[in-house]
Structures are given as C-alpha cells and as structure tokens.
C-alpha cells in the first residue's frame, strides 16, 4: 500500500487493566487494525501505563492475563508505544517497572529494538497533532 493511502492511527490508552475492559478491547482493535497496514502508534497516558506493568498475575482474580500480547505487537508491525513520563512518575513508577517490549528490525538483520518510547507531556501533545485518526480507550 502506498504511503498516500496510509493514515496515522493513534490509540490512546488511559485506563488500568482488569478494573475495566477498555485495555483488553483496545488491544483487540490494535491487533485487527494491524492487517490494514496503517501507520499505527499507541499512547499510554495516566493509568494507561499500568497496562504495561511487568509481572501481571491474574490467577487470583480469575481473569485472562493479556499482558503478553503487548510483547507480541512487534510481530504485527506495531512498534511505536509512547509512554508518558509524567504519568509514570505520578504513580511512583519507572521504566524498569514495565515489561520489556521489543521488535525485530528486518532492515538491520532482525536486531531487537525497543518499542517503548518514553516521552514527556509536551511531546505527547505534539504527537496528537500529527495524527489522522484517534481512538480513545
């Protein structure tokens, strides 16, 4: 598909996982959307950063643990996961608390590269200004 027909899709995730279904159903859209070969970015703002927490263990709440799916996003060409630094800091979290999420760069002999991009609030605001379609969860 030519770049002219590609739109920039931004998925904004602002809710913690498990307490509500938005995180899971957002991920389902991202996976289906990958087949459409658009220019996809994900944003994790506010409690959305909890979706990326390492060591999620859901046996005790009896719910499906879907956190591993984030680590598979690279295989779906979803490789830009923007995480807001201020959101992490407010919650007492650092990058080390999150899952390592990488993709294989086919242009560089399949070297593993990080998918998580840590940005501050003003960079996140600027990112929004570059998008064609915004889906909010």
């Amino acid at each position: 598909m030519s770049d002219e027909n590609r739109k920039k899709f931004l998925y904004i995730n602002r809710k913690a996982p498990y307490g509500t279904i938005y995180a899971l159903e957002s991920l389902e859209v991202v996976l289906i959307g990958a087949a459409f070969e658009q220019d996809v970015s994900l944003a994790f703002i506010d409690d959305g950063v909890y979706q990326l927490m390492a060591n999620q263990e859901t046996a005790g709440v009896g719910m499906k643990n879907f956190s591993k799916t984030y680590r598979a996003l690279g295989d779906y060409e979803v490789r830009k996961l923007y995480v807001e630094k201020e959101s992490l800091a407010e919650r007492g979290l650092t990058a080390e608390n999150l899952m390592p999420i990488v993709y294989e760069d086919e242009d560089e002999d399949y070297a593993e590269k990080p998918s998580l991009i840590f940005v501050d609030r003003s960079e996140m605001a600027a990112l929004i200004q570059t998008q064609d379609v915004i889906l909010s969860f």
């Binding site: 498990y18 307490g19 509500t20 279904i21 709440v61 009896g62 719910m63 499906k64």
Partner: protein, 130 residues
C-alpha cells in the same frame, strides 16, 4: 452472618461482577449465608444467557448460575433496570409483546423492593459497582 450482595455493573466491562462473585464464594466457604444477590443498573446484564465469551475467558453468567444452583442462591435482576437494557424472562416477553427472552438459568426478574428487603434482612449489604 447473612449477606446481601449488590452488583451494579455488567460482566466484563467492569470488574464488579468478578469481585462480587469471588466475595460470594469466599463468604459461602466461611459458612456465611447469602440472603440475595441483587443485580441493578448495568448489573442486570449478568443475567442474559445469550453471552458467548471467548473460550479462554471466564463465563460470568455461567459462574453465577452454577453458584446459585449449588447453594440455592436467590439471584434477582431488577425489572426496571432490565427493561431499559433488554433483559427479559418469558413472562416479561409475553407482557411486552417481545418475540423471545434471554434470562439465564437461576436468575429471576423482580422489583426494587427486593433490594430494600435485602437491606433489611441482611446483616451486611455489600455493593460492587462503578
């Protein structure tokens, strides 16, 4: 002790139904009595047998129905809330001229008075919602 449980949100969308279910199981395991589970607001959506959750996920309607059968629980869906949200039993379907119903086994549709009665009869009323 005798508990009343209120579930105010539908399955999956919020965790309320999950937490209420696990609370109910724990209370029963401790030998407590559950006078009634009352489903209000979107909570009525726990009571439709038309749900088909993904195979690798829990089926909350079935969990409630099975718990009710095992322990003789009274699962009451609020009629006013159910009408707004499209939950019907055979009687309601007939009364409203609808061509089918979707209430799940073990659930019954009744009035808000059942919630007040649960508050009066139970030692503790515990609410789960959004």
């Amino acid at each position: 002790m005798r508990f009343g449980i209120v579930v105010n949100e539908g399955p999956y969308t919020h965790q309320a139904s999950d937490t209420a279910y696990r609370f109910a199981v724990a209370a029963l395991e401790k030998g407590h009595e559950i006078f009634r589970v009352f489903f209000y607001h979107d909570g009525v959506n726990n009571g439709t047998r038309y749900t088909v959750p993904p195979q690798d996920d829990r089926n909350l309607q079935k969990l409630w129905s099975e718990l009710a059968e095992k322990h003789g629980l009274d699962l009451v869906v609020c009629i006013a809330a159910a009408q707004r949200r499209g939950i019907l039993d055979a009687n309601e379907a007939k009364r409203q001229g609808k061509d089918g119903d979707n209430i799940a086994p073990g659930f019954r549709i009744s009035g808000l008075g059942q919630l007040i009665e649960a508050g009066i009869q139970a030692d503790r009323l515990v609410t789960f919602g959004d």
